[in-house]
Structure formats: C-alpha cells, structure tokens
C-alpha cells in the first residue's frame, strides 16, 4: 500500500530535474465533476493512464466512478451522461483516493487544464490525509500554449482553441475523439496529445524534466502574457 506517512512529511516529491522527458514516468489524469464550484461540487469519476516517456501503457490504467458528495446538477448530467441513480451504489471518494495515489506513485502528473482537477483532488487529499498530492504537475494546455508562442506557424499550433480545447486539439492531431466523455477516455486523449508534444518539445530544446516543469507547470509555467487572459470555460 501507499505510504501516507511519506506524504505528510513531504510537501512535494523531489524530482530528478535532469531526467530526459522521453524517459520519465508520467501519469496522465482526468476527473469528472458535478460542477466547477470548488466549495459545493465534488468528483464523480477519476481516470488515469501511465506513460513511460512517449510510450502510453495501455494495460495500466485507472478508472473509477465515485459516489458524489455534492448534489447533481442537470448540466453536468448532460456532459457526463452519469445520472444520480448510476452513482448511488458507488464507493465514496475516501476509499478511492489511496488507490489513486498509489497508482500515481512518484510519477509526474499530467492533465489538460489540470488546475481544476488538482484543486478537487487536493481538497479531498487534504481532508482525508491532511496533505495534497506531492507529485509535480504538468498542464498540457500550458504546453500547447507555450509551443504555439514558439512556433505559431506549426500545423495544429496555429490557432487559439475556443475553450480548454482538449477535443479541438485532439482532432487536429487526428487523435480519435469518440465514446463517452468519461475520465479514462479523456485522460487517454490527453496522454496522446502529450505524446505528440514530446518530440515537438525536444525540438524546442525542452529536453529534461526541469525544463518541462518550467513551461508546463500550471502555476509557474506557460506563457505569462496569455496566462492572465486564460479562463477555464467548460
């Protein structure tokens, strides 16, 4: 089992910043929420996919539906297709969290507009274990924006996506976007997007985790100018 004492002692995992981005271990995550209000809403599913460098491990993935604490809103039912009766028999978030943390291990976490996912995950982590996830986090949306400012004419990096742009970006890279809007599928799409980014990043001189964290960290990274105008709009 995952050692939670370790989490308590250590705010953030130490990362080998020199490690090549094509050899590092990543866990690509996504959550589905009842809504976006950090105080009232809650997580209803968590999905995650493992990557070793640019290899996506299809056989190791995490896919859990969770009994939500918050009430369902009709809008999010439309998005996720999960109805209140679907979730009444499900496990509560507390029992899923440790499994999730164990699945993530010491990996770098990756997500698309991941701040929102992390805000909800960490709220629960703090509530249950007293500490947030210690793993460093990378946002594919920030990486996308950064590559775009470096090479605005590169195909698939030439336009500003309308919203978070996960599906838009995916479609441009010809990544199939189909099936349910569930956490695992979206994590897999995000993983495939990140897979495309790795060679592009290396071409732009982003070769190790230190550099990757600079451009992709949701708080520290991204293009400063565009960050102020960035609104997550689901």
């Amino acid at each position: 089992m995952y050692n939670f004492f370790k989490i308590r002692k250590q705010e953030t995992l130490s990362v080998d910043l020199e490690k090549s981005i094509s050899e590092a271990n990543y866990t690509v995550i996504d959550t589905e929420l009842t809504g976006l209000n950090e105080r009232k809403d809650s997580i209803i599913s968590m999905g995650a996919v493992k990557m070793i460098g640019s290899k996506i491990d299809l056989s190791k993935n995490f896919n859990k539906l969770i009994k939500p604490e918050a009430k369902f809103k009709s809008e999010s039912v439309v998005i996720h297709g999960i109805t209140p009766s679907d979730v009444s028999e499900l496990p509560a978030i507390d029992s899923i969290l440790s499994e999730f943390a164990e699945f993530c291990g010491d990996d770098i976490l990756i997500g698309h507009c991941v701040s929102i996912d992390m805000a909800f995950i960490n709220r629960e982590m703090k509530r249950v274990f007293g500490n947030p996830m210690p793993n460093p986090v990378i946002d594919t949306f920030f990486i996308y924006e950064w590559i775009r400012t470096q090479t605005p004419s590169k195909p698939c990096f030439s336009y500003v996506p309308k919203d978070s742009g996960l599906y838009e970006i995916a479609k441009c890279f010809e990544i199939p976007v189909r099936g349910a809007h569930d956490a695992l599928t979206d994590a897999f799409i995000t993983a495939q997007i990140f897979q495309r980014f790795i060679p592009a990043l290396i071409n732009l001189g982003i070769k190790n985790l230190g550099a990757l964290l600079k451009v992709g960290h949701p708080e520290k990274g991204g293009d400063k100018n565009s960050k102020s105008g960035l609104i997550y709009n689901f």
Binding site: I52, K55, L58, S59, Q192
Partner: protein, 632 residues
C-alpha cells in the same frame, strides 16, 4: 478499458486474427502505444533488437537495408503491418532500418509471448514462416509479399515431414586434404552438386558446392591444385533428422546456404538441398524440363504439360519474383513447343526449305503465365522455284496443323483471332512477310496497326532463327525514324488511361459481370507493355520482353533513363498481382481472368498499385507531349 481497442484492432490483422480472445488478451497485457513523428527512425539496422513487435496502428513506414555502401529499399508498410517480426527467429540486432514516412502510431507488443506462439499455434507459425521466407528467399528484397497466398496456407507437408525422410542418404564424402581438382572430379563422377569433406576422425569438417567451384575457383582464376580446404565452407549448417522441413528452410535462409547436413546422434546421416525441398512439393521446374525432353510422342507430353501450372503455385509460394516465374514458364513452354515441332519434323520428314517457328503476344514477350492462347506463325526461306514453293506450301500446311493439334492437347487453346501458323496468311516465305510489314507501316489502317503491334513482339522459338533476324532488320529500319507510323503506335500507348479517379480511388468496371473490379490486363499491363514497345521501336531495340526492353533502353532512351527502375518495379508488381489472382482462381476451380477486386488488396498493395498507375499516367503525358502533333 483501453486494451479492448487494441484487441479489436488486432483481431482483424494477421497473424493475430488466428488467435482466440483469451490468447489475445494475454498478448496485450503489456501493450503500449508509441508515436513516431514523420522522419524519425523506429529502428536502425544493426542497432539493438527492439524487445517489441511493432504493429502499425496508423501511418506509414519505410523499411530499408544497407548492403555494403548502398541503401536498398525493402518496402513500405502501413496500417496493420508489422515491424521487427523477423527477430522472433532469433538474432540480437535489428535487421533493417525503419523510418516513419508519416506520423506513425504503433502498438508495441512484447516479442517473447509472440515467439512462444510459434510453438503453440500452427497458424501463427505458418504466417511468420511464410512472410519471413518470401522476404528472404529473394535476395533483392524488392518483392511484394503476397498476402492471399500466405494466409491460404498449403504446403502443410513442410510442417509435418522431418528432414530425415527427405535427405539423400548416400552421402559422398572425401577427405578434406584432397585438392580442388580431385574434389571436382569426384563431384562430376557421381553427378552431385556438393561434396562433404571429412577430417581425420571422419567428422564432417566442411562442404563444397558447385557454387563454390564457380565463385571461388573459376571466376577467381584460382589454382585447382590448391587443397580443397581453402575453398570449403565451414562451419556448415546442421539440422537434426527429426527437425521439420520448414525449420530446415529457415536455417538455409538464415545462413544463406543451399545445403544442410542432416545429423543423427552427432553422426552425418545425409544431406539436404533446397532442390530436395522443392521436390517434396511435387514439382520442380527442372524435373518437368527433364520429363519434356524425354518424351517422343504428343500423347506422352500431355501429362507432363499438366504439371506446369503447379510450378507457378510452387514458385509463388517460394516468393519468386513475377519476372522469374514468367521466365521459367516461358522456358518450359518453349521446350514443350520445340519438342512438339521435333515430333512433327520426325513425322513429316525434312522440310523442303528452312523455316522458323515464331511466337508473339505474351509468349513472344516471355510473359506467359498460365496456359494462354496459341499465338504463332511460320516464316520459311524464300523458295528458289515455284515447284519448291508449292512443295513448301503443302509441307507446312499439314505440319502446322499437326502442331496446332499437339499444342491443343497440351493445353494451349487455339487463338480466337486465328493468329496461328495454320492460317495461310501467317505461314509465308520471308519476302511475303516483308511485304506485310511494309504495307502495314506505309498505310497504317487500324487493322494494320493492330497486326504490326501484335507481330512486333515476335520471337523465334525453333528452326532457322536467321529468318526472323532478317525480317526484324528490315522492319526496324523502316520503323525507326518513321514519325507518322510511330505516332499511330503512340496513340495506342496512351489509349488505355490508368484508373486514377478524381478522388484518387480506383476506377473499376461500372457494370456487367465484373462490376467494381479492376481489369489488370487492360488498365495495368497493357499500357506498360505498349509504352515500352513504343520506346523500343523508336530506338530500334530487338528485345521482345518488356523487362529486357527496359534494360536495353536504359542508356538509350531519355524517358526510360529516368524511369527505368520505377517501370521495372511497376511491371513486376502488376504481373505478380495478376499471377497471384489467376492462381487463386485456378485453385478455386474458376475460369481465370484478369479482374481483381481492389478491396482484396492490402494497404501496401493498394498504395503500390496507385503509384504504378500514377507512373503510367505520367509517362503517357510525356508521350502526348512528344507526339503532340499526331495525337488525336
């Protein structure tokens, strides 16, 4: 779960389609997915062997190998094709360089579990064995692998017969201390193609073969008094008596040898040649040739001739190139025709004047495959008197009739357009033939063009071949700079536009029995043949086979100079596709035709077909440019 998608994908492609669901599930238990941007190398020849088999999910890769200094293109692979499967037979280095020519996504499946399937799953074994063989038996590596035949199996005997039963038991051995000459002497005394050399203890220490004598002695001017030890091959490759034939073939291919030492309990038991392996499949081109030569009556030739079609299947399975197949078939058919003519001569006695038996059409171009119509004619020397003329007429009339019936018995149906020596028009003395051609060339009616095109591919099979040479000299001289006549031929070469549709899809037959099918002969083969024939006429090339024509035009014709390799490739490809298709039809007991359903082609084949048609179209444009004034 994400692996379900992988299983669904794999369940449609060989060899994974032969596996049941639970085996597939195990196989994908560690599957990963990797992205290779356009231009990146997936593996380098000589680099470490990847621990995976790559299955292309999307994209395209180019496989090439380096020999000495030259990079040789092997093939393109696309969706559903595999990379790196050769390594399941062993080796710790990548055998080829594989580069993504487009953004490519692959599923990576661990090599070991697939390797284990070789022992537990016969279908998988056969798949890898056959694809491996067809890639490697042909050393040019330029060949297109035939999917249909690979999957349809056949040749089960290769997997069930131990080599011990096949290997020749009476092995001729000699001491390793004898000279090259002594070894050669022993080999010719026993009529064997290889000799085992043994050391003082009687253990085999090496082998020499006909090939060694040729490559290492004669061509190098080596002194044949040298000890044979200097040229023998060591260590030689061994197989246990209990090993199956397919394993023996793999060993031969892997070590590039044609002989294996068959061992039992550490003792030399026999020797196995690749010819032995061909023989177990019932047919060997060589044995048919021997059988033809041995006959003295038409009736005795009939059963032999029936075996010719089997050779095609055999050669296809062995991965022979289409041009090799047609060459072998032409050689065998020529011998059959010659034999029939010999029998005819014996029956009718010495001809009153010398004659030459000529063939044309595909037979003339040496592009025959399955039994085709008789296309033949006869030229005889100009008789000295009208008396001799009537003697000749009488003789060749009954002579050609006999030959036609003989050919018919041996499976060659008569030509529906009556292009046969039995037709008095096509059984004439040389001066009449010359007149035919000068008429056709000076007044090119559509019938004249058709006749001359038909006869331009003529080739002497038997008799006084000088007669045909003289006729060719005469004709070529007339045609070479005759722009008007060449203009007519050019029109013919551009008549059949290749089937490249607006949407880059195949244009297929719109109606009738062959709706939605592609006519390989009319749309593919004929334009290629016509184009190359036109260029040969322009340059006065005497060769009749399309491949030989291209080869001799290489340095003479500007268009061919630029496109020779592509044309050869294209021609081989279409020819092979046609042969495979017809062989399949034959096996199913259907009438053979030239129609193919494009949907049955693999992605790779479709791609090459499209490239081929683009090539034809490009060259037709060049012809139109050249003959602008005369194209209508």
């Amino acid at each position: 779960m994400l692996t379900e998608e992988v299983i669904e994908f794999l369940s449609k492609i060989p060899p994974f389609q032969f596996l049941d669901n639970s085996t597939l599930k195990q196989l994908v238990s560690g599957v990963t997915m990797e992205f290779f941007p356009k231009g990146t190398a997936i593996q380098y020849q000589g680099g470490p062997a990847p621990e995976y088999i790559y299955v292309i999910k999307k994209g395209e890769v180019k496989v090439s190998i380096k020999n000495e200094s030259e990079e040789v293109f092997v093939d393109y692979r696309g969706e559903g094709d595999l990379i790196g499967y050769m390594l399941i037979f062993g080796g710790n280095k990548a055998r080829a360089t594989v580069v993504a020519v487009n953004d490519t996504i692959c599923y990576l499946i661990k090599r070991e579990p697939i390797q284990n399937l070789l022992y537990t799953n016969p279908a998988v074994r056969e798949f890898f064995h056959t694809s491996f063989l067809s890639k490697y038996l042909d050393k040019t590596f330029k060949e297109i692998q035939n999917r249909n035949l690979v999957y349809s199996g056949g040749d089960k005997i290769l997997f069930t017969m131990p080599v011990g039963e096949l290997a020749s038991k009476d092995v001729i051995k000699a001491s390793e201390n004898i000279s090259i000459q002594e070894a050669a002497e022993i080999m010719s005394n026993y009529s064997i193609s290889s000799l085992i050399l043994i050391d003082a203890d009687g253990n085999p220490s090496g082998i020499i073969t006909d090939r060694d004598l040729r490559d290492k002695v004669v061509s190098k001017g080596r002194d044949c008094k040298e000890p044979v030890k200097n040229i023998m091959s060591v260590p030689h490759v061994r197989a246990d008596v209990k090993e199956y034939c397919f394993e023996a073939i793999l060993k031969m291919v892997k070590h590039n040898v044609h002989h294996l030492l068959i061992m039992k309990d550490e003792k030399l038991k026999g020797i196995l040649t690749n010819h032995d392996l061909m023989l177990i499949q019932g047919t060997s081109p060589l044995s048919i040739v021997k059988d033809i030569e041995g006959q003295t009556t038409i009736d005795a030739l009939v059963p032999v001739s029936k075996r010719i079609n089997n050779i095609i299947g055999l050669l296809l399975n062995e991965g022979a190139k289409a041009s090799s197949i047609t060459r072998i078939i032409t050689e065998i058919n020529d011998r059959l025709v010659r034999k029939i003519l010999e029998i005819a001569e014996e029956r009718f006695g010495e001809p009153p004047v010398p004659y030459c038996w000529i063939v044309f059409g595909s037979e003339g171009r040496k592009e025959q495959t399955f039994k085709t119509d008789q296309d033949n004619a006869l030229i005889y020397a100009d008789p000295a008197s009208s008396e001799e003329e009537s003697l000749a007429q009488e003789y060749f009339r009954s002579f050609s009739l006999f030959v036609r019936e003989g050919l018919l018995k041996c499976g060659f149906p008569p030509c529906p357009a009556d292009f046969m020596a039995t037709n008095p028009m096509w059984r004439q003395p040389l001066h009449v033939w010359k007149k035919y051609f000068s008429n056709w060339i000076s007044t090119p009616t559509s019938e004249a063009i058709l006749n001359s095109v038909t006869f331009f591919d003529f080739r002497a099979v038997y008799g006084e071949t000088k007669l045909l040479d003289w006729l060719k000299d005469y004709v070529m001289n007339m045609v070479k700079d005759n722009k008007v006549f060449l203009g007519y031929i050019a029109n013919m070469a551009i008549k059949n536009m290749p089937p490249i549709g607006f949407l880059k899809t195949f244009v297929v037959e719109k109606s009738g029995e062959h709706k939605d099918k592609l006519n390989l002969k009319v749309k593919g083969l004929a334009p290629l043949v016509d184009i190359v024939r036109l260029f040969s006429l322009e340059k006065g090339i005497y060769e009749t086979s399309t491949i030989e024509r291209i080869m001799s035009l290489k340095d003479k014709h500007t268009i061919i100079k630029e496109y020779a390799d592509e044309l050869l490739h294209a021609f081989e490809f279409i020819l092979l596709l046609r042969i495979q298709n017809q062989f399949e039809q034959l096996k199913k007991g259907e009438d053979i035709n030239n129609f193919i359903n494009p949907n049955t082609l693999s992605n790779l084949e479709k791609r090459i077909a499209k490239e081929t048609f683009h090539l034809i179209s490009r060259i037709q444009d060049l012809i139109i440019e050249r003959y602008k004034a005369m194209i209508w």
